[in-house]
């Protein structure tokens, strides 16, 4: 069936397009304007904005850690809703089903779960398979697991063993890429370290955080995995940590890296309170290091919950739990910390965090390398995205918010002095084109012929919150799934993953490791097609080598 979206303003920065025109969909793909054929279905979208479906590069939507958060705080949607946040007042609003529905209503069609635990990949995939409409992918966590650390300790590791192990882990868990969270820090926590810096050594293993990240970058580059290592670096959330972020960037030596939720590393220690915006310095470094991409991790005021494999950081953060309850899960590899948190407008620190996130977006010279995220739910629930788009696209809206913040926070932030307003094209880069490129999902994030027919249509209006909260139309793989902000057809998406080649000897070594130290059989956590009952659930992304 040929579908025509007629007369909309088509925003497709990947193809340098921002003009009024038509978009055609057929058999689940975008197609060129057909010669002399009448479309079977025409949607008049004149006066509307037409974009590719949005892609979320970093959102905790599934898996052991997220469900641990749900167990700790089933009342989260009720509190958030009572505060006026856009979420239904039901524990189920935080469940898998509602996640897919709400993302689709906002025009999102692909979401990346960035913290899949290798041994719990089955749960992650089961959860992701219960999320309707959107396509998904998982990033699998390594870097605090004893197998990796042991390989790096010997430092005379048979050259390809780490590469094989990374490839095996990616394949075994059906992951799209690799996540590294506070490399070595969670392991150090197991030896009772309470802080862990870039050049500190992991007890017993001797390797440094820097060494682990470098080794992972090399392995991913050698394997030709399209998405670079997705790194949550050390010292998250600490005053002065902009130094760590800059040092991490310097350490990459030109190899590709993706730094996650960079707002949480944009902190200087100037001013009376020893806490200030490090955004200008951070952005100077990011603008300079063209090998690096980042996502922002914007903070919004209100109740949320922080869920992180950075167990060391979360252990410290437990003191700020609001409400006063927390989980520290000391598990194989990274473990997890789950700490509820309420970002307060009147708090000097929270107000500054909010401002720093926006500064980062607005100081980005190249929106292709500064991707949109709130690190859902850590900075804010994903249902807040429309409000953030509004803040980025409308300086008057920013001023209205800024006026309500503590004077002290405004003084140490440069946000008030920034008049930039993101254009539709820039927003489409940060939320569509760039995530697709960084993830290696080349068939989406744009509207060229051949792309998967994921399309979102919005009514252009001054109030961008309203505009992006409810898409007029959303097509997922060519199928109309949302009309006037409501889901009209619950379809099911696919899960993307890489198949990286490895020497099969690694399977024997890993098996022996798990049998000896865990009494476990790695086949238990190997993800197969049958993890979902839909036969075409999985789609493979090729590695370059």
């Amino acid at each position: 069936m040929l579908i025509q979206l007629k007369g909309g303003r088509v925003i497709d920065p990947a193809n340098n397009r921002d003009s009024v025109g038509d978009v055609y969909l057929e058999n689940g793909r975008i197609v060129d304007a057909p010669d002399g054929r009448e479309p079977d279905e025409v949607h008049d979208v004149s006066g509307k904005i037409v974009m590719a479906g949005a892609i979320d590069v970093h959102s905790h939507i599934a898996g052991t850690n997220v469900t641990l958060g749900r167990q700790l705080m089933p009342e989260l949607p009720l509190i958030a809703s009572a505060e006026g946040q856009p979420i239904l007042p039901s524990p189920a609003a935080w469940g898998a089903y509602a996640t897919g529905i709400r993302y689709a209503e906002m025009g999102y069609t692909t979401v990346i779960e960035p913290a899949m635990i290798p041994t719990h990949a089955i749960q992650s995939h089961k959860e992701m398979a219960s999320i309707p409409i959107i396509d998904v992918a998982g990033l699998v966590i390594l870097g605090n697991d004893d197998y990796t650390l042991n390989l790096l300790r010997t430092s005379n590791v048979k050259s390809d063993e780490l590469k094989d192990y990374v490839a095996w882990t990616l394949s075994h868990s059906k992951a799209l890429g690799l996540k590294v969270i506070n490399a070595g820090g969670s392991e150090a926590f197991k030896f009772n370290a309470r802080t862990f810096d870039l050049d500190e050594q992991v007890p017993e293993y001797g390797v440094t955080s820097r060494g682990i990240v470098e080794a992972m970058q090399q392995a991913i580059a050698d394997l030709g995995v399209p998405h670079p290592p997705h790194v949550h670096t050390n010292n998250l959330g600490i005053a002065g940590n902009v130094d760590t972020a800059v040092a991490t960037l310097e350490a990459t030596q030109g190899n590709p890296i993706h730094l996650a939720h960079i707002q949480f590393y944009g902190y200087g220690k100037e001013g009376d309170k020893g806490f200030s915006s490090g955004a200008p310095r951070l952005m100077e470094a990011i603008n300079k290091h063209k090998n690096a991409t980042v996502d922002v991790g914007q903070v919004m005021f209100g109740q949320t919950i922080t869920i992180s494999g950075d167990v060391l950081r979360q252990f410290d953060g437990r003191r700020a739990a609001n409400p006063k309850k927390w989980i520290i899960n000391q598990a194989d590899g990274n473990g997890t910390g789950v700490v509820p948190y309420n970002y307060k407008k009147k708090s000097f620190v929270n107000a500054l965090q909010w401002a720093i996130g926006l500064e980062i977006f607005l100081l980005a010279e190249d929106p292709w390398r500064v991707l949109f995220s709130t690190d859902h739910p850590n900075g804010a629930l994903f249902t807040r995205y429309p409000e953030i788009f509004h803040l980025l696209m409308d300086k008057d809206e920013r001023s209205r918010w800024l006026d309500q913040l503590p004077e002290a926070s405004r003084q140490v932030s440069g946000l008030a002095g920034i008049s930039r307003e993101l254009t539709f094209s820039e927003l489409a880069v940060m939320t569509r084109a760039a995530p697709a490129k960084v993830l290696g999902l080349m068939d989406r994030g744009h509207l060229a012929s051949g792309a998967v027919a994921d399309v979102a249509v919005y009514t252009d209006q001054k109030n961008k919150t309203k505009m992006f909260a409810a898409a007029d139309l959303v097509f997922k793989s060519g199928k109309l799934v949302v009309r006037k902000g409501n889901v009209v057809d619950v379809s099911w998406g696919r899960c993307y993953h890489v198949e990286a080649g490895f020497d099969s000897h690694i399977e024997k070594r890993v098996r022996s490791f798990y049998e000896t130290y865990y009494g476990a059989d790695p086949s238990w956590f190997g993800v197969t097609e049958t993890v979902s009952d839909r036969p075409d659930r999985f789609a493979t992304i090729r590695c370059a080598s």
């Binding site: 167990q71 007042p89 524990p91 719990h120 959860e127 219960s130 004893d146 086949s523």
Partner: protein
């Protein structure tokens, strides 16, 4: 088979408050049961949810401090086993927690075992074990051990026991990684809180955690599935506008006794585990039974033979060694019997068709 499923659909479509209980099934079976409960406006409960529900409530009130089985086995220098439950549930537990070979672990202490509230059961050879047991009930002993850790003075008549408790408290403070092992079924909520508070005191200066034995019948797997599906653990009702969890009100046993439930879906289909039916099950309450073993159901009940997860078909279930859900390959695949998920999904489709007609 089709007419049997139609009878099941008819029976359930008429029910005002059906309870889906037992739930000794794999994660796919649990997902299908939750979908059916949502469709019917019913309740889900698991036959071994007693301890899980208490633990869930404690977690919701104040949090938790779990350690994975692998972490305890490889890195704990002091393992505190509370009560008989852990070793009754898993007779090999201590051997597996004290393996010959482990990963690098914190501190220089030799590994030690402290057993609280029982003199029964063997301890691994070569491991120093302290048994804290006396006339006091288990909750009292746990509280005294907590006091010893906090260095709060206490008085008991049994001076030898007091000395042991004080020494255990000192050992815990000096441990590099102390872990308290228990079966939540054996401990009431105040005791669970006491253990948690003791851990929270210890982590101020050292490392400590808890290791709760998982519930039988894939209870933890079912509970996790319930949580990611609707945001709440089992003992949840879908009768209202939003799902509601209540560990007392939505217990299958109570709902059948009180007569609030007017239909039961009983699921018992896991290899190597038998679900104990509620007292009033199959006595006048219209039931649909999915079982992999022979059952004595009522005359008018609908009984459907299904495959046993793990034996007859591959199954995703909670696996303690990985502290999470994993998939186990079937021992002798018998595809002639349907899975719980297949049967429940078909019943759901028939109910939909009935609604549409």
């Amino acid at each position: 088979m089709d007419s049997t499923l139609q009878r099941a659909a008819d029976l359930l479509a008429q029910a005002r408050l059906p309870v889906i209980g037992g739930l000794f099934t794999d994660v796919n079976g649990a997902a299908a049961a939750l979908a059916l409960a949502q469709k019917l406006g019913g309740v889900v409960d698991h036959a071994a949810s007693g301890g899980m529900s208490r633990a869930a409530r404690v977690m919701r009130e104040t949090g938790s401090t779990p350690a994975s089985f692998g972490e305890v086995r490889n890195r704990a220098d002091t393992v505190v086993v509370i009560g008989d439950g852990p070793r009754d549930r898993d007779p090999e537990l201590l051997d597996r927690l004290f393996p010959a070979k482990g990963l690098p672990r914190p501190g220089d202490n030799k590994r030690e075992l402290i057993v609280v509230g029982t003199g029964r059961g063997k301890t691994p050879s070569g491991i120093r074990a302290t048994v804290i047991d006396g006339k006091q009930a288990l909750p009292e002993l746990v509280a005294l051990l907590g006091a010893a850790v906090r260095e709060t003075p206490f008085e008991i008549r049994d001076k030898a026991l007091a000395k042991k408790i004080l020494s255990a408290g000192k050992r815990l403070r000096e441990s590099a990684f102390a872990v308290f092992v228990y079966d939540p079924v054996e401990l009431e909520e105040p005791v669970l809180h006491t253990v948690l508070e003791t851990v929270r005191l210890l982590v101020k200066t050292t490392r400590a955690a808890t290791l709760a034995l998982s519930a039988p019948g894939n209870g933890d797997g079912v509970n996790l599935c319930s949580t990611w599906t609707c945001g709440l653990p089992v003992r949840t009702s879908f009768a209202g506008e939003v799902p509601e969890n209540n560990m007392w009100a939505y217990e299958a046993e109570r709902l059948l006794k009180s007569g609030e439930a007017d239909a039961l879906v009983w699921i018992d289909a896991l290899d190597g585990a038998d679900a104990a039916p509620p007292t009033r099950a199959f006595r006048g309450i219209p039931s649909v039974v999915l079982s992999s073993k022979p059952v004595k159901a009522g005359r008018d009940d609908v009984v459907i033979e299904v495959g046993a997860a793990i034996a007859d078909h591959d199954a995703a279930v909670y696996l303690p060694p990985i502290a999470g859900i994993g998939e186990v390959k079937a021992t002798s695949a018998d595809s002639s019997k349907p899975t719980v998920a297949e049967v429940l999904n078909k019943i759901g489709t028939l109910i939909d068709a009935k609604g549409a007609a």
